[in-house]
């Protein structure tokens, strides 16, 4: 009996360290550990890791549980948002590239009219993806850009309209209200279409991502997560916590700075890397 306790005393702290240093957070880690202790028989390494994998898969929302696209909608409107510097603009370039390769008609809206050279940066990515951009000048009303973009999307029979927005901190009320307004314009002006609210999270971010997700979910709702910079030394565990908390899947992972560096998030591969 004491051999089991010995093994447990070795492996449980090890698992705890893996989860905490991967940014799963104290609370989520504790929940996983207590679930693990309920299900594990002998504390053999193989068995513990297998049970851990099971638990993680249950708690992280899978893409297969994502809402299905609207029945007779030809167009999907992707609104991309998140705090500053997370990789929104770059991810839009990657996503547009990928959708275009799948033979879809794609259009990008440059609704970050605030940050210096944001429109130029996005336009360069659009050029690389060979996708048109709807843009106005720096300082234009982002709502006006979106308005134009929807008109253009309909007239060009676009399948995917991807909207880039300015980075904004979730605790800045005025900026969050601005985003909410943009989201409402998309709902009103493209009513029958599939609306995808995409939150971009940076894998190097810590527990603050939870509050980010909560606030963005409050103001615009979140349908999916893009987890960027997974090529870094960070594991992005907090995105898993967020996925479980909001019940939304991590749809895409950013794995570098090139246009091809976007993959469909695969939970098994992710857990492999986590536990390697």
């Amino acid at each position: 009996f004491s051999k089991k306790a010995e093994k447990k005393d070795e492996i449980i702290p090890e698992i705890e360290e893996i989860l905490i240093t991967s940014d799963f957070g104290v609370e989520f880690t504790q929940q996983i550990i207590s679930e693990l202790e309920k299900r594990v028989g002998a504390y053999e390494r193989e068995e513990v890791l297998a049970v851990l994998r099971e638990i993680l898969k249950e708690r992280i929302s899978l893409a297969s549980r994502a809402p299905q696209p609207a029945q007779d909608s030809r167009m999907t409107v992707h609104l991309v948002f998140g705090v500053n510097g997370t990789g929104k603009t770059t991810s839009i370039g990657k996503l547009a590239f990928r959708l275009k390769k799948e033979k879809r008609r794609v259009l990008i809206a440059a609704a970050d009219t605030f940050r210096d050279a944001a429109i130029e940066q996005l336009s360069e990515w659009a050029r690389r993806a060979d996708v048109p951009v709807i843009r106005q000048g720096q300082g234009a009303d982002p709502g006006a850009v979106v308005y134009d973009a929807i008109d253009a999307a309909y007239s060009r029979k676009v399948n995917d309209l991807i909207v880039d927005t300015a980075g904004r901190l979730h605790n800045k009320e005025r900026l969050m209200e601005e985003l909410k307004k943009i989201s409402k314009i998309l709902d009103k002006k493209a009513p029958g279409e599939t609306q995808n609210r995409l939150l971009v999270l940076d894998a190097t971010t810590g527990q603050n991502a939870i509050e980010q997700a909560r606030q963005f979910n409050e103001y615009t709702g979140v349908d999916g997560i893009i987890l960027t910079k997974l090529d870094s030394s960070a594991k992005g565990g907090v995105a898993c916590t967020v996925s479980g908390m909001l019940g939304v899947p991590i749809l895409w992972a950013g794995t570098g700075e090139k246009i091809e560096d976007l993959v469909s998030f695969n939970i098994d591969e992710y857990i492999d890397i986590l536990l390697s």
Binding site: T204, D231, A234
Partner: protein
């Protein structure tokens, strides 16, 4: 808050000498949780806890009439000490050209910070700053820096079709010929695990011999703060840290991790997207934020 939690742990302790091993253990546990929840890296929490535990078992707490206050004070004082004690300053020399290299992960706020630094140097040290656009990779990075500097009437140097080490060397020559007092280099974001890109920083450093190499990191950085800071420090030697986006509600535990592993202190914080959103860092403010 941690202060409240510690008060809860010790509320049943009355009077001199009645503190138990159990109370201390529970208090230590609360501190550990608070630090991890504030994003302080796991191994940094471990050493911090070891140090605090030793002090907590000492005379002051055992004989104190208010153990929870004494406990909180030990944590607070150790946080402040780890964060560098007093606010640090920029290593701007009185004569010659001060060269500052700005480095960090992708999207951490370097480009924005370079403009803020330039204005700070001009207003606080009376030196004419030259900002150098040494990121030829990110689309429109040079445009971004040029626009930012132009808005604040700060001189900016860029060179098309040149590699960063050459750009920096040429910028330094330009600075000497045009009586600039400080050169601030905006480098491309990079991973500390990217050999080629870290080698580029080593090469830039060799060419321009900087007085300051500042690591810009997001205040909301998680557990990797310790790995990232260590990576940059071991390769090129960090002389200071700047925490960006401190206007978020992030707890900022990354400050502790990075100070711990580099032995350097956070000297400035970014508090917004405008050039004036830049302040000196006060250790006891972050200590309070973490204890919140």
């Amino acid at each position: 808050t941690l202060t409240q939690k510690l008060a809860g742990v010790f509320k049943k302790v009355r009077g001199w000498g009645s503190l138990t091993e159990g109370n201390i253990k529970e208090g230590i546990r609360e501190i550990r949780l608070a630090l991890l929840e504030a994003d302080v890296s796991y191994k940094v929490v471990k050493s911090f806890i070891d140090k605090v535990t030793e002090e907590a078992k000492g005379e002051k707490v055992l004989k104190s009439l208010t153990p929870s206050q004494q406990f909180t004070k030990i944590v607070h004082d150790n946080l402040v000490e780890l964060l560098g004690g007093a606010p640090a300053d920029l290593g701007i020399k009185s004569g010659g050209i001060s060269v500052i290299m700005v480095v960090g992960l992708q999207g951490s706020g370097k480009t924005t910070t370079c403009t803020k630094l330039a204005q700070w140097v001009e207003q606080n040290f009376g030196k004419k700053p030259l900002v150098v656009a040494a990121d030829p990779y990110r689309p429109a990075a040079v445009e971004q820096l040029v626009l930012l500097c132009r808005k604040s009437q700060i001189a900016v140097f860029n060179r098309e079709n040149a590699r960063p080490p050459e750009i920096c060397a040429e910028a330094l020559r330009h600075a000497k010929e045009n009586s600039f007092g400080a050169v601030i280099i905006d480098t491309a974001g990079r991973l500390e695990i990217d050999e080629t890109m870290m080698e580029e920083l080593v090469e830039i450093k060799k060419r321009i011999d900087p007085h300051e190499i500042l690591l810009v990191a997001d205040a909301a950085t998680g557990q990797v703060a310790v790995t990232v800071a260590q990576g940059f420090h071991e390769r090129i030697g960090i002389t200071g840290i700047i925490l960006s986006r401190m206007d978020s509600d992030a707890r900022g535990g990354a400050a502790l991790s990075m100070s711990y592993v580099t032995g350097r202190t956070v000297s400035f914080i970014g508090t917004g997207e405008k050039v004036e959103d830049f302040e000196r860092f006060y250790p006891d403010r972050i200590a309070s934020r973490i204890l919140e």
